[in-house]
């Protein structure tokens, strides 16, 4: 009998650094189980009410369809539908209850797979919640993908301004965008509760340029088999946002915002991070 009460691993971002690609790859791995929906947003719902409500509404919309499908389902299809129904009922009933999350993982524990969840906004969780994850849940491993902070924020900016309600001249100064690029703080927060060997730090460039190498490293970290044919879409699935030149004032804003992160990352990781620094680190 397993004692799982949380995911074995968490993908915590960064947002716009390839987490959807990561989800697709791990979802296809035979020894890994991931929820149907990529992002559960459980832990940030502990602090953010709007997420909660939106997620709840989506789940409520799904439930009637699932019940209808269950009524007409053949015996063999029922398990999958029941899993999905369970997930949605949980979400629909969610009241920020830690017990909900524990229950969710207890039930998938029977599958005898490595189970995980990927929610990029977990990157900026409050350190208190990170501490709780480490001590109150069976979660052992954390996956973090880094990307050049200036480019990352520009990518998120483009995504956010696709929504008409976001003012293009305000959005780039928003904490919701900027905080998710502060890699130094993010790494320090997570490292203060997860030992270095429990933290996998990968790079967006590797996903793009050598995805199989990246996946092999990741599989080693997760202690699961690596075979190229587990990942048929590894080389094609990276989502790229529209090409667009970043306006100078926004670019400058991002560059100045991330000076400390660029310095820290280059010093600590060299390689890709040194290139980011060469590109955007201002002379002292």
């Amino acid at each position: 009998m397993t004692h799982k009460n949380g995911p074995d691993f968490l993908g915590i971002g960064l947002q716009k650094a390839g987490t959807s690609w990561l989800y697709e790859q791990l979802h296809g791995h035979p020894s890994v189980w991931l929820p149907k929906r990529k992002e559960l947003h459980f832990f940030d719902a502990l602090t953010q009410d709007d997420w909660n409500i939106r997620r709840q509404q989506r789940a409520l919309k799904n439930i009637p369809d699932l019940v209808l499908k269950l009524q007409g389902a053949e015996l063999g299809q029922r398990d999958e539908l029941l899993n999905e129904l369970d997930e949605n009922v949980h979400l629909a009933r969610l009241n920020n209850d830690l017990e909900w999350y524990r229950d969710f993982w207890r039930k998938v524990a029977d599958q005898n797979k490595l189970v995980g969840e990927i929610t990029p906004s977990y990157s900026i969780l409050d350190p208190q919640i990170i501490k709780q994850i480490r001590h109150d849940f069976s979660t052992q491993k954390i996956i973090l993908i880094l990307r050049n902070p200036v480019e990352r924020s520009w990518s998120q900016y483009k995504m956010m301004t696709e929504r008409k309600s976001n003012d293009p001249e305000l959005v780039y100064k928003k904490a919701k965008l900027l905080d998710r690029g502060h890699a130094k703080t993010i790494i320090e927060n997570w490292e203060s509760h997860f030992e270095p060997e429990r933290l996998f730090i990968g790079f967006y460039e590797d996903i793009k340029d050598r995805p199989f190498w990246f996946l092999e490293e990741l599989c080693r970290f997760l202690d699961i088999d690596f075979e190229k044919n587990y990942f048929p879409k590894a080389e094609t699935a990276v989502r790229v946002s529209r090409e667009e030149e970043c306006p100078q004032h926004i670019l400058e804003y991002f560059i100045s915002e991330y000076q400390e992160d660029l310095k820290y990352l280059a010093h600590r990781f060299e390689g890709h991070a040194s290139k980011w620094a060469a590109q955007f680190l201002l002379p002292q």
């Binding site: 439930i63 009637p64 019940v67 269950l70 029941l82 369970d86 009922v89 229950d103 039930k107």
Partner: protein, 281 residues
Amino acid sequence: MIENLFLSVGAMKAGTTWLFEQLKDHPKIHSTPEKEIHYFEQVSGNSNPISYSKRRDRMIQVIADKNQSYVLNHLDKIQWYLNYGRDEVINDAWYERLFGASAKREDVYCADYSNLYALLDRRGWERVRQNCKKLRVVYTLRDPVSRIWSHYKFHMQFIGQGDKILESGTDHFVGMLNKDWFWHHAEYDQCLDRLNKFLAEDEFKVLFFEDFRKKPQESMNAFCEFLGTDSIVLSSTAVDAVNASADVVMPVEWKEIIQTKLEPTISALKSKGIVHESWKI
């Protein structure tokens, strides 16, 4: 470990569903959507009442039989059945989870109305004790002849022969009485002996079906006093039978067969002084 566990252990067809229905709204008694969990029989008894496939079928029945708006309005209940039916292997933690946060509350009883528990042996009661800090058990008795007749009718309805209760014939009726799984429920004396052996005096109380019918509020008050919890005010419909079996009169010949077979039980009950004044024995 459950803080307070209340078990209604039978007898079958002696008003346990009535009790369950009345207590559903009791603020300090947590009943589950499924009346009879039968967990301790499953893990320590001789039968398999809640195998994975049985729980799974029940879960699917509950969910798929309901219309969509019912499901949306009863998410707690749907969630409960998903928890109940989706685990292939069940254990003590599974049982405790059925009661949610109530399991850890000192002022709430977790209630399970499993009639098969009247047949639990030492192993079964040891398992019960491993799972709770405080235990209260009631065993509800009913006029033994009427109970057997109700049980028989109920069984015939259960197997889809509800229209052939009398036509089933004396041989079939006698055959049923001779089946252990049927007759053990009629042996109140033996059930009482087991319960008295494995439970302390303050843990165990005998109730009477006839009191539920004739003086429901008084019975409820006495029951709640036994648990040490506030009583509830019953509605005016609380005298009505719940889960009643078909209204078919028992043939005289069959009644005599029952009475003969019941003799040892009746005399044992009389010597224990556990007989309700209304019983026709």
